[in-house]
């Protein structure tokens, strides 16, 4: 008797996964450089954060579009997981956008308490989105 089991694959398309890698890495790095700025008041750390966040928003923008499409047309994925994923990406990108403006301010105001909180929100949201996107929970289970 042969039992066949379809290979379970994560919710995210491989290209989507590659795109998501950018905001995960860049927001995380931005959080690290924000921390470095607040510890040292060395302005170059804040400049680094500005570019890291800008880069995260560019690639994250593509992820955002894909996530919204994936929520509207879930295909084989569960609507709930697609929705949760989409909500996290919206949170990541939205707080990242506000943070980009925050980081355009001068001196200490470029980060300050608001900047570091927004960096944390974007980072945590990106990491959680990655967890969900790569987990098998959202994938269709086809068992014989």
């Amino acid at each position: 008797m042969l039992k066949t089991e379809a290979t379970e694959r994560p919710m995210l398309h491989p290209l989507h996964a590659v795109l998501l890698a950018y905001p995960i890495a860049l927001f995380t790095a931005g959080l690290a450089s924000d921390i470095a700025y607040l510890r040292t008041a060395e302005i170059q750390w804040s400049n680094f954060s500005s570019w890291l966040i800008a880069g995260a928003l560019v690639m994250g923008g593509l992820v955002l579009a894909w996530a919204i499409i994936g929520f509207v047309f879930p295909g084989r994925a569960s609507r709930m997981m697609a929705g949760l994923y989409c909500a996290l990406i919206v949170l990541m990108w939205g707080s990242g956008l506000i943070n980009a403006f925050q980081h355009s301010r001068d001196g200490w105001s470029s980060v300050g308490p608001t900047g570091i909180i927004l960096s944390m929100i974007s980072t945590v949201a990106a990491l959680c989105a990655g967890f969900i996107g790569f987990s098998r929970r959202g994938s269709p289970r086809t068992r014989a």
Binding site: A41, E42, I43, Q44, N47, S50, W51, A54, I68, F71, C86, A87, V90, L91, G94, S95, L97, I98, A100, F101, Q102, H103, S104, R105, D106, G107, W108, S109, S110
Partner: protein, 438 residues
């Protein structure tokens, strides 16, 4: 709906990022009213888009007439009137500040929308109006191959020109219409980055010393304080030897220097910091005190601490001098000229004209005019009065933007450099307009 919530809220926040001033606040004079700091996510940016004069002229008070003395210049900034009545106009555009953040790219583009498309001349032009009709018959290049020249001064047959990186001396003979001999470098001037590149210049009352205004390398220290060595200062340069000392510090961007004729004291117009709200911080007119610290970047208008600067320097802030006279927030005062020998008489007998280039960091445009600050006994006395207006048309577009101003007591005229329409305007009492007898 929920998933649109955050972007929608962001958009709303940006759109409503207000940036207009409260007109009931008096922001001029010795005690300007300062509102609370208002740091918005996006600084309010409003640039008056350029348009032409199309035959129109700036508006002058009754009893005065305005004419274009020279046109088709290449970004005229400051004006020097020579003893024989020839007019020198420094033309150019400097600065090479690298773009460090995405913001620098975007803000630079937006500000460029309010500027002329003409490339800076890097030269000094001579205008000669021998018949006194208010229009120069001769317009010729006086010195070429300069590097963003700005301040000029004439002392004892020597013409001093402040390039963006050095103070030069040229030998001048009266009546000359061109100088081809290269200038002698009296001293180098701080020019690294040159965020604020203009080097203003004037000579002391006795002519022995030259004063050079050197602007800061950032809005409020956001490039780090290491690049602010000998920035936001006024230098005193010995005219004979070229040795210098720092006269005043913390004076963010002293864009024009002039000697108050009654006291012989050095005065400056200074551009203050941005992005604290539409009504912070007022640009000012002040006597420059020897050894004075004027707050930048740690504090503004005296001892009001700017929280954006870390580490803070409370000891230094405790010494910060409150400037003498506020001109209004974001007006961008770039020109200063005291009248001498009775000025235009009447209300304009003692005081200074100030050229206000105009704002970008507030929704309600400020500046874009030349104001008159009345003085009594060598001190400002009374609110500034509009003298030349009409640089903004009724559609809110800029036809011109005033920079340097120069009063000529011998001919009773005021000259105004307009770096948007690339014109030098002449204001004269109506009587002076009639052709000379004979």
């Amino acid at each position: 709906m929920r998933r649109l919530g955050l972007p929608a809220a962001t958009a709303a926040l940006l759109l409503t990022a207000c940036g207009g001033g409260d007109p009931s606040l008096n922001q001029t004079g010795a005690q300007p009213q300062l509102p609370e700091r208002d740091e918005t996510l996006l600084p309010p940016m409003k640039i008056a888009r350029p348009t032409g004069w199309e035959g129109a002229s700036p508006t002058v008070p009754q009893g005065f007439v305005i004419t274009p003395m020279g046109s088709d210049l290449k970004i005229p900034r400051q004006i020097l009137i020579l003893p024989n009545g020839d007019i020198l106009v420094a033309e150019g555009s400097g600065g090479a500040a690298p773009k460090l953040r995405p913001k620098d790219v975007i803000a630079g583009y937006i500000k460029s929308l309010g500027k002329t498309k003409v490339k800076g001349g890097d030269r000094i032009t001579l205008l000669r109006d021998a018949d006194g009709d208010g229009r120069a018959e001769l317009q010729t290049t006086f010195i070429k191959n300069l590097d963003a020249p700005y301040g000029m001064a004439l002392v004892d047959g020597a013409l001093y020109v402040a390039n963006q990186d050095a103070l030069l001396r040229f030998v001048y003979t009266e009546g000359q219409t061109q100088i081809t001999a290269p200038g002698e470098e009296l001293t180098k001037l701080p020019s690294q980055i040159n965020h604020h590149w203009t080097k203003s210049l004037t000579a002391s009352a006795d002519g022995a010393r030259l004063y050079v205004g050197i602007g800061s390398n950032s809005n409020v220290g956001e490039r780090g304080m290491a690049v602010e060595e000998e920035r936001a200062v006024v230098w005193e340069v010995d005219r004979a030897t070229g040795t210098r000392r720092t006269l005043a510090t913390g004076i963010r961007n002293p864009t024009a220097l002039a000697i108050e004729p009654l006291s012989g004291a050095l005065w400056a117009v200074v551009n203050e910091r941005d992005e604290l709200g539409p009504q912070l911080v007022p640009d000012y007119l002040t006597a420059v005190r020897d050894g004075g610290f004027y707050g930048w970047p740690y504090s503004y208008w005296g001892k009001n601490v700017d929280p954006r600067v870390r580490p803070q320097k409370p000891k230094l802030v405790a010494e910060a001098i409150t400037p003498d006279y506020a001109l209004g927030s974001h007006v961008a005062a770039l020109g200063l000229s005291f009248v001498t020998d009775g000025g235009f008489g009447g209300d304009f007998a003692e005081g200074a004209f100030v050229g206000e280039h105009g704002s970008w960091n507030r929704q309600d445009l400020a500046g874009y005019k030349v104001v008159w600050v009345p003085f009594v006994g060598g001190r400002p006395a009374g609110p500034p009065a509009d003298f030349v207006t009409g640089f903004i048309n009724d559609k809110g577009q800029a036809r011109g933007r005033p920079v340097g101003v120069a009063f000529d007591a011998r001919r009773r005229i005021l000259l105004i450099a307009d770096d948007l329409s690339n014109t030098v305007w002449r204001v004269a009492p109506v009587a002076a307009q009639s052709p000379p007898p004979g």
